[in-house]
């Protein structure tokens, strides 16, 4: 079983959106069952799950002090992936959750504000000695700043090959607790999410091998 933590000190980077999309895509790809845990007090992931008709991915109503215990329970109970969404700003909370991760995914929008803020997240992940991947989220097609952001991020770590481009289908699909793939499996956004999961899945397997 793998523990994937989505972290970014910058609000609006796409942590919650990516958490739910990766969870659903992992199950669709047959790599579930997946557990979602919402460590962000804003509760975006919990609200999405409440709106969702499908029971999967399952949601754990955990508490910070119970997180390690619940992760172990999930491991013993046959789950394949635990995805934890974290809040922006709260450095101590992010550090506590990151310490439990097998891999940290850092969504970043291709903007100077996001790139300025990502340094603090990198520090947290590096001090916990955890592998991390950057994902460029909310990119505009054919915009030069996207490749510039990728170059800037690659100086500090691995950047996912899959980039998620801005699409209104991301918020639209969340209205009734679905994902872009469930709204329109043939859409570009659905393909981008599938590509991202393939990449993240491979990295999770690689980091598990290294840890072993």
């Amino acid at each position: 079983m793998h523990v994937l933590v989505l972290a970014s000190q910058k609000g609006g980077a796409g942590k919650t959106t990516l958490s739910r999309h990766i969870a659903v895509e992992a199950e669709r790809a047959g790599e579930g069952p997946v557990v979602l845990i919402d460590a962000d007090p804003q509760g975006g992931l919990a609200s999405w799950w409440n709106r969702r008709q499908a029971e999967t991915p399952v949601f754990f109503a955990s508490r910070l002090e119970d997180l390690p215990k619940h992760i172990e329970q999930a491991r013993a109970g046959g789950f394949n992936l635990v995805i934890i969404d974290t809040p922006p700003q709260a450095t101590n909370l992010i550090s506590a959750v990151v310490s439990l991760a097998d891999l940290v995914l850092i969504p970043t929008r291709p903007s100077p504000d996001d790139l300025d803020a990502v340094g603090r997240t990198i520090d947290i992940v590096e001090s916990a000695n955890k592998p991390m991947i950057f994902v460029i989220n909310g990119a505009t097609k054919n915009a030069r700043i996207t490749s510039q952001a990728a170059i800037a991020l690659s100086q500090s770590g691995t950047v996912a090959k899959a980039t998620l481009h801005h699409s209104v289908s991301f918020p639209t699909s969340g209205i009734d607790g679905r994902t872009v793939g469930e709204l329109d499996p043939t859409s570009n956004s659905a393909k981008e999410v599938a590509d991202l999961w393939k990449y993240v899945s491979a990295r999770l397997r690689k980091s598990a091998k290294v840890a072993a």
Partner: protein
């Protein structure tokens, strides 16, 4: 004997496939009851536990700073380089278009205001609102004055 293939969506609905987790043991809320981690618990648990930890957090190194350098744009060093000294020939004013005239006039007016402010009259914030024509006339007056004409 009935054989069933358990889909992920059926996990909660009592599918007996051996690989599927028994969900009764997990803290899974009912729909509508899912909540994130409690804020108070977060504040208590996440606070530095000792004074040393708090001090360490305060004196920590500044975070990484990433910068985006446009591929073809001139670097910051180039843009901040002071302009080279102009020769006397270069200082000769070129025939200006109306846009340049307005910009030059405003600059002259600003310089005049700064000189007056340094001399104590008028105080800062007392810049008089004048028309461009007035500013041009004043600037020309000063120009003639400097040349003793």
């Amino acid at each position: 004997m009935e054989i069933r293939i358990c889909a992920a969506a059926e996990v909660r609905k009592g599918c007996s496939m051996s690989k599927a987790p028994d969900l009764s043991a997990f803290p899974i809320p009912r729909k509508g009851g899912a909540r994130p981690i409690d804020v108070d618990e977060v504040a208590v648990s996440a606070a530095p536990k000792t004074v040393e930890e708090a001090e360490r957090a305060e004196t920590a190194d500044p975070p990484h700073m990433l910068t985006v350098v446009p591929a073809r744009a001139p670097g910051p060093a180039a843009s901040k380089r002071p302009p080279a000294q102009k020769t006397a020939a270069e200082r000769v004013p070129e025939p200006a278009s109306s846009g340049q005239t307005v910009a030059t006039t405003v600059k002259l007016d600003e310089n005049r205001y700064l000189r007056l402010a340094e001399a104590g009259k008028p105080g800062p914030g007392h810049l008089k609102r004048r028309t461009i024509q007035e500013m041009v006339i004043e600037a020309l007056d000063e120009w003639f004055e400097r040349r003793g004409l």
